[in-house]
Amino acid sequence: MANQVCFRNNHLENSWSLSAYQSNGGYEVLKKILSEKLTPEELIEDIKLSNLRGRGGAGFPTGLKWSFMPRTVDGQKYIVCNSDEGEPGTCKDRDILRYNPHQLIEGMIIAGYCIDASVGYNYIRGEFWEPYARFEAALEEARAAGLLGDDILGSGFNFQLHSHLGAGAYVCGEETALLNSIEGKKGQPRFKPPFPAGFGLYGRPTTINNTESLASIPVILAKGGQWFLEQGLPSAGGEKLFSVSGHVNRPGNYEVPMGMPFSELLEMAGGVRDGHQLKAVIPGGSSTPVVPGEQMMDVNMDYDSIASAGSMLGAGSVIVMDETTCMPRVLTRLAYFYYEESCGQCTPCREGTGWLSRVTQRIEDGVGVAADIELLDSVAGNIEGTTICALGDAAAMPVRSFLKHYRDEFQYHIDHKKCMVESDW
């Protein structure tokens, strides 16, 4: 089975419209919750049962996260959706916004109901003009239909939802930087603790979930947590969106059961481009360690299996590389990305990402020296675990994994001042 959760409406004509969404059972769960006055506790229990794990990359159980919200505390609380999908290799949330925005809206209203938040924000990546416009249009439709705003469907429940377009900073995908950005401050991560559940947006209790997580909620509650759990694995329920890119014949987003073998996913994506062999895979987005292709063919697409291969599921962003790929060149590009996207707040990342970028560039340019490989490994190691947010680790992990698996290519670059592989791109 596939396309049962976030992509379940994508086959419909104008799937982003309210009528298309409602033709497939859209907003029915919300109506049921509000009319039958289901309690937040029972809803959260169902989500816990589903074992929906956060789709943004950290994999934290969504039901558990919601249960941390101090619902009984007086005053404003917020639900925030993280649609700042900036990780290289990831494009799943973009397509939820484009093709199924109402499901996200319904999920956010339900989330607001569960955590007692009357206001929600959807923080959308700055480059996502079309998805932003689609989402805004969907908000208008929902408001006009009485599904969003004050006294939703006559239930007395109020929920305001606003979208907020980012300004192009990768780091704003980090949840506390995202909160700062909504507040109009510089998008820099906050030191935790305090955690957003206690001190979040404007200092109020806040829950932040990924787009895919929130868009999954209506389906989970419609079909039951048990159903969702059964679509995946006991350790992680449901179907999951994987963005497959790189050297495959049919790159794109695939919603498939958690735990599907990588080989099957690769086949769905049309296999490695014709006439070439699989060389390496970055399984969870650019910040996750690279896995050699051979090893990857034995891995299943779930948290534990990928972890055992030394990498992470991340946001499910599968970057496939064939034998024409020069690994020092890939790393140079990735290191440059993290250098440009470091917020500059804490020392190791601010100074270290630039250093990594310059040294990888030096190797790529054929002017590296013998000590550079050890230097890269050491600098990356010094960044790892010493920063406020995970961007430092994200910059360091590719470096260390590339050196671990493809050290010979780096050595070749230094020794011969050219690529080891013949590249046709």
Binding site: K186, C343, T347, G354, I388
Partner: protein
């Protein structure tokens, strides 16, 4: 179960040493309190925690990563190692990152010798770099006349940014750009406008922000420090005057949590640059052709005694008078009044900007009823006639801290004054008395009048006082505030209806159960009253048999002989030039550090007075706190400390009680008379009677003093004047 007493203690171990500490503390605070050195750059005890430099990473048992000691709370059973191999490795790696882009220009950097980065690099830095790339170059920013920038040295600790947001109250510095393109600067290209901006020089852990006037003039290790008290406002900020070869090189704050915390205002920091401008360095006497000529001390003193003796012989003691600066020391005030009274005159005053003296002897010593620290705990603050941020920058900072903790502030002022804290109710009026009477009337109408006997005053048909909505709001906030205070500033002090205003403010504070807090002028106005430099009483408030005349009377009806002590008459005194010039009609003795217009044109004898940092003395701040200081440098040229000049004058006039060998001896004599215990004068606001009329209620309020015009030293500090010009565009903005 733990007992409640035990719950207030957390047991932790740092470097295998068991400690019992208070819960809620951060590791770095505990370490600092227990002498465990943890390197740090961004952490500062007076600023919020940003945890961005990562230098204070330490190993904590069971934590998977190194944790920043500045942002990690102590937990029971926590075991911490600050010098374990893992901790040291993390600290060294952070140090390496900090140094890769930091220029190695310590030999030409002013911070050298007092640089946190330099010091900590000695312990944690490598002896050679692994970084082969080009170092970052950052364009310097123009922060104005006071703070110099060398931004390539910046390590992005954001102390200056946080200072602006949290203490200065103006978020004018920030980081723009990302990653290693991040630059600290003003968002818009402009000078810093906070009156506390110089503190970022001290906060900067490297040589990125430096004192512009001090630049390249001395090395930190060449300087000798002398504790002193800033002479420009009634806070009594503690400062260190730093000298080299007998010359003042710079002024920096001295920590005193009860007074100025870790901060000083820019004028406290940079006024020293005016200390030696247009100085009088030798005694002078006006010769027969009308020119001032230099002479020796003996000749000058003889001239004074001879002339004064002649005047007194023909017209009596009341024909002479003295006007002193409100920033004179207790010792100077005391000896000056002793000298004048010895000559038979009670004409002595220092209240240069006061216009209404109708309260006369009934006015007690205006002061703060609260301590500076207590201001922070107020919930409701009513500011009457004050641009408090300019007048008393560090008192204003306490008010701001109260507002950050939730206090509501209301004001009555002649113009919309920009405060760096939120104002809930602001009454803008050019007439202070009716507005204040409105608030009093509102409180009275709520039956809070008690036995204050205000009814007649406020219901008098001749005085048609309207109670506006704002007056009611102010009354509400004062009555509702659990801790509420009334604060009167310089504009109320200088109002033509001052005595009624003080009375009304007293009535308001009594009716609303608020404290009454008054700040007037100068650094030592309270000391002036206590030392007896007023016409009504001598030191220790011993009433005199025949009241002398106040400063206004001395100006309108000049004494035949007058002593101007530390006064730049044409700028310090209220009144227009011609009125002030009339002071010059008699025999004028100017005891002054500076040559000014009135001295130059009219003084008959000029006695050079020790200037800023050149003399020992004592100031009593607005709280009643007695703070003594010593001289840091020798007086310039022939100048002498005021107490010595006055002592010799007294002896020369053959008066009793001038056999004093040291300023301490003078001080002890004053203290004995004033009954000062524990260096603190108790509040004294009982001396109050209800006003019987509201005076001239059409009297317009005075305007705030222009920036950096508060006294003769500040007026002569070129960098402060340049800064004022930049900030006000060269135009008086008031």
């Amino acid at each position: 179960m733990e007992s409640s007493a035990e719950q207030n203690i957390v047991n932790i171990e740092i470097n295998d040493i068991s400690l019992q500490v208070e819960p809620g503390q951060m590791l770095i605070e505990v370490a600092d309190a227990n002498g465990v050195a943890i390197p740090r750059f961004c952490y500062h005890k007076k600023l919020s925690t940003s945890a961005n430099c990562r230098m204070c990473l330490v190993e904590v048992e069971k934590a998977p990563k190194m944790l920043p000691a500045c942002a990690t709370q102590v937990m029971n059973g926590m075991k911490v190692w600050t010098k374990s191999p893992k901790a040291i490795a993390a600290q060294k790696s952070v140090m390496e990152f900090l140094l890769i882009n930091h220029p190695l220009d310590c030999p030409v950097c002013d911070q050298g010798g007092e640089c946190d980065l330099q010091d900590i690099a000695m312990g944690y830095g490598g002896d050679q770099t692994r970084y082969q790339e080009r170092r970052r170059i950052v364009k310097d920013k123009d922060y104005g006349a006071l703070v110099s920038t060398e931004m390539s040295r910046c390590i992005h600790c954001t102390r200056c940014v946080r200072f602006g947001e949290e203490v200065g109250g103006i978020a004018e510095i920030g980081g723009t750009g990302r990653g290693d393109h991040m630059e600290i600067g003003t968002y818009v290209q402009k000078s810093l406008s906070s009156e506390l901006s110089g503190n970022i020089i001290d906060l900067c852990p490297v040589g990125a922000l430096l004192s512009k006037p001090f630049l390249y003039s001395a090395r930190a290790w060449e300087l000798q420090s002398y504790l002193s008290i800033a002479p420009h406002d009634a806070v009594g900020s503690n400062i260190k005057i730093q000298t080299r070869n007998g010359k003042i090189m710079r002024v920096v704050p001295a920590d005193n949590e009860e007074v100025n915390e870790s901060w000083i205002s820019d004028r406290d920091r940079f006024s020293y640059l005016g200390a030696n401008e247009s100085r009088v360095t030798s005694p002078m006497v006006r010769n027969s052709s009308g020119n001032l000529v230099e002479t020796n001390w003996q000749a000058a003193l003889d001239t004074v005694i001879k002339s004064f003796t002649e005047i007194i012989a023909t017209d009596g003691g009341s024909a002479v008078g003295a006007i002193a600066s409100p920033s004179s020391s207790v010792e100077e005030f005391y000896l000056l009044q002793k000298f004048m009274r010895g000559l038979g005159s009670n004409n002595i005053d220092f209240r240069l900007q006061q216009q209404d003296f109708s309260a006369g002897a009934e006015q007690s010593a205006p002061k703060l009823e609260l301590s500076l620290q207590e201001i922070e705990t107020q919930n409701s603050i009513f500011i009457i006639g004050s641009d408090i941020q300019r007048e008393q920058p560090l008192l204003s900072h306490r008010v701001r801290k109260a507002t950050l903790a939730g206090a509501v502030v209301s004001t009555i002022n002649p113009k919309t004054i920009e405060f760096n804290f939120a104002i809930s109710t602001s009454v803008k009026t050019d007439k202070l008395t009716p507005a204040l009477a409105g608030v009093a009337k509102e409180l009275l109408s709520r039956g809070l009048g008690g036995d204050l006997n205000l009814e007649q005053l406020l219901t008098d048909g001749a005085v048609n006082i309207a109670v506006e909505a704002e007056h009611k709001e102010i009354a509400d906030s004062l009555v509702n505030g659990e801790n509420s205070m009334v604060l009167l500033g310089a504009l109320a002090y200088r109002d033509q209806n001052q005595s009624r205003i003080y009375s009304l403010a007293t009535a308001i504070s009594k009716m609303s159960n608020s404290s009454l807090n008054i700040v007037t002028e100068g650094a030592n106005a309270l000391g002036g009253v206590l030392a007896g430099a007023v016409p009504y009483h001598s030191a220790g408030k011993v009433e005199v048999s025949e009241c002398g005349v106040d400063v206004a009377e001395m100006i309108s009806n000049p004494p035949k002989g007058v002593v101007l002590f530390g006064v730049e008459a044409d700028k310090d005194l209220a009144g227009d030039d011609s009125a002030i010039d009339s002071l010059g009609s008699g025999f004028v003795v100017a005891i002054t550090p500076f040559m000014d217009r009135l001295t130059y044109e009219h003084a008959d004898v000029v006695l050079p007075l020790a200037g800023f940092g050149e003399s020992s003395g004592t100031f009593v701040n607005a709280e009643g706190r007695w703070q003594s200081f010593s001289g840091a440098v020798k007086p310039l040229g022939e100048a002498r400390p005021g107490w010595k000049i006055l002592r010799v004058l007294g002896s020369s006039a053959e008066l009793q009680g001038f056999e004093l060998d040291s300023s301490e001896q003078v001080l002890n004599e004053v203290k004995a008379l004033c009954d000062v215990t524990a260096d603190k004068s108790e509040p004294e606001i009982s001396n109050w009677s209800a006003p019987t009329d509201l005076g001239n209620i059409e009297a317009e309020m005075v305007k705030p003093i222009p920036l950096y015009e508060v006294d003769a030293v500040v007026r002569r500090s070129a960098p402060l004047q340049e800064q004022a010009k930049k900030l006000t565009g060269g135009v008086d903005d008031v």
